[in-house]
Symmetry: D3
Subunit: 130 residues, 6 copies
């Protein structure tokens, strides 16, 4: 079993590779209200889960973007993971494809709201979506 | 714009490549109660959406598996798309990875129920999951 | 304000007109575990809400069928309200239309599961759906 | 089968009758990021589905309002369809009835949020709700 | 059975004890668009349900906070009930514990959004969360 | 930070106190398909989260029962946690109260399905619910 230090270090590295500085900002912002929860994001969500080798990082981001678009309850996190997808090598077109596929599985409103979130991210980064 | 015949033919081909005979069985079974809906599955869901070139077929299946695992409301369709993932080249390990990642984004019960569905599919196909 | 006796009597009448004997069976079956909850179904859900004159009974059933199909978490109750729609004058075709419209608003799996529920009800009643 | 031109023309007509200019604005706004998706809204959602004769337009809007209120994840679209209901002949009272019925099927918070959306629409249009 | 006057009076007392003046403000604000619904909040939700003796008031608030955090569709109501928990004797730490437990049952994004809502309430009240 | 051995041992102890032998059976059953996920249930869900001292064990079970009843997507897990509530000192009446409170926050169908799950558990254990 990994030591706690290893889990945390692995998590920090994966968090940075996916979310850049914004993920660390979320983690920092949670430390005042729930410091252990902030640790869980690093050590469990990014250290234990998102660092696993079984899926390529871009595919993991597609899976997260698909799920958050379908659920429709976490717009801020969806935007973090659209940034994350771009950070690990997804193209805007691949992210857009994933979101509009959700029209079939979760309905048109879910897909429209996902596209609105994606457009905001693409505009922030000066990217063209089409 | 594609002709209706093209949309339908494209949809049938994609439906077969992803779901084999089981998808056609679902479509057939819906013809008694909602024949136009059966057509929409073929022409829209598979013809217009799932046939698009912008994402590889295995990645599209990962996106669908992620979404249906996270939603937790469509076990039958989740199993169809786990079969579909295997049919288009996903390994059991990749599908399992996608499902257990959902523990982070949709909670442990959603991931457990996804794993139960995956195990049923893997057993049906005589596959080992680990 | 209505007396408790009025609320209850109004609820019983509406419950019977919508669900026939099956709704009363559900209410009876809940009396062992949660008798007050059984009363709430009658006095509040059917007495206060479903008895209101502002929407025709068939339209109210369409609204309930739409919501339960979209949510996808209450198959037993969806079937009760498909029966209810038929009991108050909806045709099988109208119910089917409502369910397949949900493909747009909640995704194809939700609509498919709604159609499966509807077909079971139509078969129980010896109805043709198309 | 309808030609693509027919599907599109039917969709545009239904989109206009339900959403007036606001639906077209949504479709236009999506053309930069996902032009095919914008077409799907017109040709599939409005052309294939919402144009069907099997349910009256006001009842279709009630079904959509019920579903979006119950899901609680698409406030912008709920407001579009409350406008849509009013555009095709629903009264404010009928829309309000539909939303508050959702307290029974999806809980009081869902209904409250639906009522807040409805009030915003009614105020925009200078309508009294009671 | 309780008289309507008793139900209403019980509901007003429980509404005030849980939500202070803010709950009454919500009820008042709904009277223009749905006066009967405003009565249902008082007489049914608070009078019939939340006034019951079978669970301590702080535990009832924990149950509501857990459910609204998990659903993720009712931020305004979640904040009302975080206030409510504090009003009936929950500590900020107990509320935070409940919310972060939801990471296990509904995913990390649901828990993060719940924590953001809690922090806003704690800041409004000048409370420290840790 | 806790050592991995401590996290696991703490998790096993909490898992046993809440779920008795049934939780271990779930964990065992997942080892063939996702052994690391089985570890996460023990070390993260039960070791890191459910073992925390900030909420009494019965209140934690009430929070879980509330959330799973409201979500309506995890009947098997809901039953595990109704057993868990009884195992750590909740009375059947307290569990029933929590579930029927969900009628207000997630709708009557969610509460009915929760009551059906509770009745099954109470019957398995030879308990009277009222």
């Amino acid at each position: 079993m990994a030591t706690p230090e290893d889990r945390y270090a692995t998590g920090v590295a994966t968090l940075q590779s996916i979310t850049g500085s914004s993920g660390e900002a979320v983690v920092e912002s949670l430390k005042d209200i729930a410091p252990d929860f902030a640790d869980w994001i690093v050590a469990f969500a990014y250290g234990d889960v998102m660092s696993r080798p079984g899926l390529d990082k871009p595919v993991r981001q597609i899976a997260t973007i698909a799920a958050l678009t379908a659920l429709g309850t976490a717009t801020a996190q969806l935007k973090v993971h659209i940034h994350g997808g771009l950070n690990v090598g997804c193209t805007p077109q691949q992210i857009t494809e994933c979101i509009l596929q959700m029209a079939v599985y979760a309905g048109f409103p879910a897909a429209i709201n996902g596209l609105v979130a994606a457009r905001e991210v693409f505009v922030e980064r000066g990217l063209s979506a089409v």
